[in-house]
């Protein structure tokens, strides 16, 4: 399978979207483009597992390597392993759902879809790049459209949020860039991930680079205390923007922390692991407690994302194979779950024109489909078995428990405690939205339209497929986690 397709199809879609005459054409082109991406990503999964089952044990499959800048040794080096395939599938699911959720977007439709598709291209490129420079390039492509999506199509204090988001993410990128260059000069003048993984990078370089790269990518995935762009950014963004932001962008950070920072710099990871753990445990509980006080549905989901992404970083910081597998599963699970949550919020907001839970109530009666989804996604968020959140968090916890010392135990138990707090805020949000007497003015609200139903069902399928039968995702990602673990074990 030619991985370039994953970049070319979104690119072609984006160009096609730009050439269309009316909004209807734009929508359908965007939808077909994203549907092809979805099929392509599922095809990639099939082809990938097939190759693995036939005994292809190469670290990366479908590799291709083309020189871009000879003098700097920058190459367009593409390739995927199980982790990237999982992330690509996540992206494809979220993109289709996001496109469908924006069906009624009337303001500058063409530009809106253009940016959405561009963003998805950045994400695909990021996940398939094996060259740090190219990876960084795609990371930036995935950031800049967000500034515009929020600033132009957002709501509330959108200028402030867009600025805050862009500046904080740019700061993160700057740290990544600096770390990348130090790595380049300290590790044999190469940006190639696979080459860097083979070379021995001096300890001092690792100790300098790791915090730069980890914090840089960490900003994307709401590393405490660099998380404050999350609530404002998510709540000001349009529905599809929030879905992309939480479903895909935050995962860019987690993937970077794992693939770049931890994999390439295992000594650095060992050195700073305890700080990561401390910060992620704080993020988990802090996010959960902060969510309890929120009254806006989008803020509720945004703060809870901080808490849930804490599990990703917790799993990485634990430096055990099971925990890292759990971290990857949590990325996929959280991506689908939070995208679905934002989609549901979008459906509700479209009709009630409010996101304040205190102003709602009894919506179960008029919007059974949407509220049932709100239930399911809430239950997924609080880690109910049968849905994806449970298996992911469970795997992180079991992996965390392999570290027998007191510090790791305390951190893990602190993380576990969030399951109670999560239950409190989720049930509170659901109760205020769905239960109780229905307000007079909401009597005639309609339930989800076809495109909204389709979008949410696509995401729901993903959540249930992971929750009921997590073994396929385990199979997919655990060899990748294994390789990362081997590097960590070999390091001093």
């Amino acid at each position: 399978m030619n991985l370039l397709l994953l970049i070319l199809i979104p690119l072609l879609t984006a160009v096609a979207v730009f050439m269309m005459q009316n909004n209807n054409q734009v929508r359908w082109i965007a939808f077909f483009g994203s549907a092809i991406q979805l099929i392509l990503s599922l095809g990639l999964y099939v082809v990938y597992t097939n190759a693995r089952n036939h005994g292809d044990t190469a670290q990366m499959l479908f590799e291709q390597n083309m020189p871009l800048f000879k003098s700097w040794n920058i190459n367009l080096h593409l390739g995927v392993d199980g982790i990237s395939v999982a992330m690509i599938m996540l992206t494809a699911f979220v993109v289709v759902a996001g496109v469908l959720m924006s069906w009624k977007m009337e303001k500058m439709t063409k530009e809106f879809y253009f940016l959405l598709i561009l963003l998805s291209m950045g994400a695909y490129g990021f996940f398939i790049s094996l060259d740090l420079f190219v990876l960084f390039f795609f990371l930036e492509i995935a950031v800049i459209p967000k500034y515009l999506l929020i600033g132009v199509w957002g709501s509330g204090k959108k200028e402030y949020s867009a600025n805050k988001l862009a500046l904080m993410l740019m700061t993160g990128s700057a740290l990544v860039l600096v770390g990348m260059f130090i790595l380049y000069f300290g590790g044999g003048k190469s940006f190639d991930i696979l080459q860097l993984a083979q070379t021995t990078i001096p300890t001092w370089t690792q100790h300098i680079c790791f915090p730069l790269l980890f914090v840089g990518f960490g900003v994307f995935t709401a590393l405490f205390p660099f998380h404050t762009w999350v609530p404002d950014g998510h709540s000001s963004a349009p529905t599809a923007g929030s879905m992309f932001l939480a479903g895909i962008s935050m995962k860019l950070g987690g993937y970077g922390c794992l693939r770049v920072a931890t994999y390439l710099l295992p000594e650095g990871a060992k050195e700073y692991a305890n700080i990561i753990l401390l910060l992620s445990a704080i993020a988990i509980l802090y996010g959960a407690f902060a969510t309890m006080m929120q009254k806006d549905l989008k803020y509720i989901n945004a703060y809870s994302s901080i808490s849930h992404c804490g599990f990703v970083l917790l799993g990485i910081g634990m430096l055990t194979k099971v925990a890292i597998t759990g971290a990857i599963m949590q990325m996929v699970s959280h991506g689908l779950m939070t995208a679905l949550f934002f989609a549901v919020i979008g459906i509700i907001y479209e009709r009630t024109h409010t996101r304040q839970v205190n102003e709602m109530g009894g919506l179960l009666k008029v919007m059974p489909f949407t509220i049932t989804l709100l239930f399911i996604v809430g239950l997924c968020s609080l880690g109910l078995p049968g849905l994806s959140g449970f298996v992911a968090e469970m795997t992180v916890f079991v992996g965390s428990w392999e570290n027998p010392d007191t510090f790791h135990r305390i951190v893990t138990v602190a993380g576990c405690m969030s399951i109670v707090v999560t239950a409190v805020y989720i049930l509170r949000a659901i109760g205020k939205t769905a239960m109780g007497p229905l307000k007079e003015e909401y009597n005639n609200l309609s339930d989800a339209a076809w495109h909204e139903k389709l979008a949410t069902i696509i995401l729901l399928v993903g959540i249930i497929a992971i929750g009921v039968a997590p073994f396929w995702l385990n199979d997919l990602v655990s060899p990748g986690a294994e390789l990362i673990m081997q590097k960590i074990q070999m390091a001093k």
């Binding site: 969510t291 399951i419 049930l427 109760g431 007497p437 997590p470």
Partner: protein, 638 residues
């Protein structure tokens, strides 16, 4: 047949999907579809039970009678593998029968009871899901599958308690049930992680086989056992996590019957009986269970004596009876605990469905002060309710007598303090007889104090009552003690599962036959005292008197809800408010905004440096060179 055990949970799951998707189209049919699904799994359970009973002796002996049916690998990273397996043996087969049997009766009853509700279809979908989760719980061959069922049960209780979602008080009760269970689940999870970290497995068989090595570390086993017990206090409503169960009365009455009899609250008892190999070697954990069980039995019984809501009395009665079961678990009498689970399921389902019949008759009234004299109007309900009362009070030869008696015998002969525990347990038993007959007399005797015209319920509701009454009468005969010439059939059936524990700890109490008869006589006498007290107090009840003094405390549930609110809920919300207002908004966000502003201000200042004066530039240039030289000198020195 044993390999087809997956059919048992499959039927309710299919029932759930059909009734759930067709909830707006199926109409009354959904009730029958749901009932049929449960009936089908009851039939399969019965066949499995029969096959287990007739298993050739040699197979039963060597394999402790457990069959593991492998379905698929649930979690499968190369370092961690957990299979989705079902385990079928004496213990799970008994639970299957109780769950599906009583569940079926409750389904049938609900068809009539819920017939006028707009959420009819949804109700049956939830009921089927509830039964499915409970079946998963008892069939799971490892703690993870058990936990999946465990959580599913918690979810269904949430959905059903808050079934009438337009009433905020009901949905709050549902929320409370879920969150209290979650606190217990936290304990369960940690216990599971502790277990996994050492055994690298979660299935019962491997852990049981690993016990000899694990026993070298008693504090570890105690920790695991206590963690699991925290989980059990949540599900099975023991101190300190019991307050959700009385509030759970907000749900429709058949749901209460389902929660209290066939599912949910027995989960904790099942889990500890299933983990008997752990608890038998953790004496400290057992002691804790014994004390908590006794305290719960007493506390709930005192509250039950002062309640005026027909369902609340029964709810606290359940809490108290669960206390008895936990006392049995605490002294290692697992069979006695299971025995009481079974008989309790019979008479508590009977009492709840009977109370539902009463509530149905008096147009939704639940306050017993507004009832009275109902025996005239509803003969069948009265007689069956009466049977339930004498069964729970412990009058022979009804079922409750045998199971409670067995528990009390075990406690009497347990260690040095056994006799003190026995006396306190007897006190709770006396209160049980008292509050049940108080309820009976106030509700059915005297004169009718309400408005409207009470009437007997339709046959669809009374039939389950009659079946359950019959079971409450004869249910005790599966465990007739030796002193009456019986050979404890339940004991013999469950023995293979408890083999390992029995090697460590005797589960047969040793008591001379005279003493045993004497103790039984005392127990019956005490129950009769309770009944007599209720008779003199309430045979001609009229609702004038108000409670005061200590009774007022009991009526207000010892203010435990208020205490939790002050000590736990308020401070937690305080913390989150502090995080939100101080740290998040003023602290971190303040810094972020501050940095932004600083850069703006800083750049306006730095801009001034580019003043265009050549002299200034020159000055800075020279200054820079001097600084560089100074740095050089300093570096050379080192």
């Amino acid at each position: 047949m044993l390999n087809l055990v997956w059919l048992v949970p499959l039927f309710p799951l299919i029932g759930f999907i059909i009734t759930g998707l067709g909830r707006n189209h199926l109409g009354k049919a959904s009730g029958w579809i749901a009932s049929l699904a449960i009936l089908a799994s009851f039939v399969v359970s019965a066949l499995i039970f029969i096959e287990l009973k007739t298993l050739p002796e040699d197979i039963a002996e060597h394999t402790t009678g457990s069959h593991v049916v492998h379905l698929f690998n649930f979690i499968n990273t190369h370092a961690m593998q957990i299979a989705f397996d079902f385990q079928i043996d004496a213990l799970s087969s008994i639970f299957l029968l109780v769950i599906t049997g009583i569940g079926f009766l409750i389904h049938i009853y609900s068809i009539s009871y819920m017939s006028h509700d707009e959420g009819f279809g949804k109700f049956f979908a939830y009921l089927n899901l509830f039964v499915f989760s409970m079946l998963l719980l008892v069939l799971g061959a490892n703690y993870l599958i058990l936990f999946i069922g465990w959580e599913g049960v918690g979810l269904c209780s949430y959905l059903l308690i808050g079934f009438w979602y337009k009433n905020i008080a009901y949905t709050d009760a549902a929320k409370k049930a879920f969150i209290m269970n979650r606190i217990g689940d936290l304990g369960f999870l940690i216990g599971m992680f502790l277990l996994y970290s050492k055994c690298n497995a979660l299935d019962f068989k491997s852990i049981e086989n690993m016990m000899p090595t694990l026993m070298n570390d008693p504090s570890y086993i105690t920790a695991v056992a206590l963690c699991f017990f925290i989980g059990a206090t949540g599900k099975s409503a023991q101190i300190p996590l019991f307050t959700w169960l009385p509030d759970a009365m907000a749900g429709p009455t058949p749901v209460s019957a389902l929660i209290h009899a066939a599912t949910m609250v027995t989960a904790g008892v099942y889990m500890i009986a299933r983990s008997n190999f752990l608890y038998s070697v953790a004496p400290i954990a057992q002691q804790v269970i014994l004390i908590i069980g006794l305290a719960t039995a007493l506390l709930a019984a005192t509250i039950a004596t002062q309640q005026n809501d027909i369902k609340k009395v029964l709810a606290y009665s359940t809490v108290s009876q669960l206390g008895f079961m936990f006392m049995a678990l605490g002294v290692g009498a697992y069979t006695a605990a299971i025995f009481h689970v079974i008989t309790h399921a019979f008479f508590k389902a009977l009492l709840f469905l009977g109370s539902g019949s009463v509530i149905h008759a008096v147009d939704g009234e639940q306050d017993i002060r507004n009832m009275g004299g109902l025996k005239k109007y509803m003969k069948i309900t009265y007689i069956t309710f009466f049977i339930g009362c004498i069964a729970i009070a412990g009058i022979p030869p009804l079922s409750g007598f045998f199971s409670k008696d067995e528990i009390m015998m075990h406690i009497f002969t347990h260690g040095t303090n056994g006799k003190i525990f026995w006396i306190l347990g007897m006190l709770a038993a006396m209160m049980t007889a008292y509050y049940m007959f108080r309820l009976l007399f106030i509700t059915f005797h005297g004169t009718y104090r309400g408005k409207g015209h009470p009437h007997e319920s339709p046959a669809l509701m009374t039939m389950p009552l009659i079946v359950l009454a019959a079971l409450s009468i004869v249910g005790g005969f599966i465990g007739i003690p030796e002193v009456f010439g019986g050979h404890h059939a339940l004991n013999a059936f469950l023995e293979p599962i408890l083999l390992k524990s029995q090697a460590l700890q005797t589960s047969i109490y040793e008591l001379s036959h005279q003493n045993e008869i004497l103790l039984m006589g005392v127990a019956v006498f005490i129950a009769c005292i309770g009944i007599t007290m209720a008779w003199f107090g309430f045979k001609k009840y009229n609702a004038a008197d108000t409670t005061k003094g200590i009774a007022k405390f009991a009526e207000d549930k010892w203010y435990i809800d208020e205490l939790y609110d002050k000590v736990i809920v308020k401070p937690l919300f305080g913390i989150s408010k502090w995080i939100e207002k101080i740290i998040e908004k003023a602290g971190i966000d303040g810094i972020v905004n501050g940095v932004g502003r600083l850069i703006q201000v800083g750049s306006t200042k730095i801009r001034l440096l580019q003043s265009g004066l050549v002299g200034f530039y020159l000055f800075m240039f020279v200054l820079g060179i001097i600084l560089l030289f100074a740095l050089q000198m300093w570096l050379v020195k080192f």
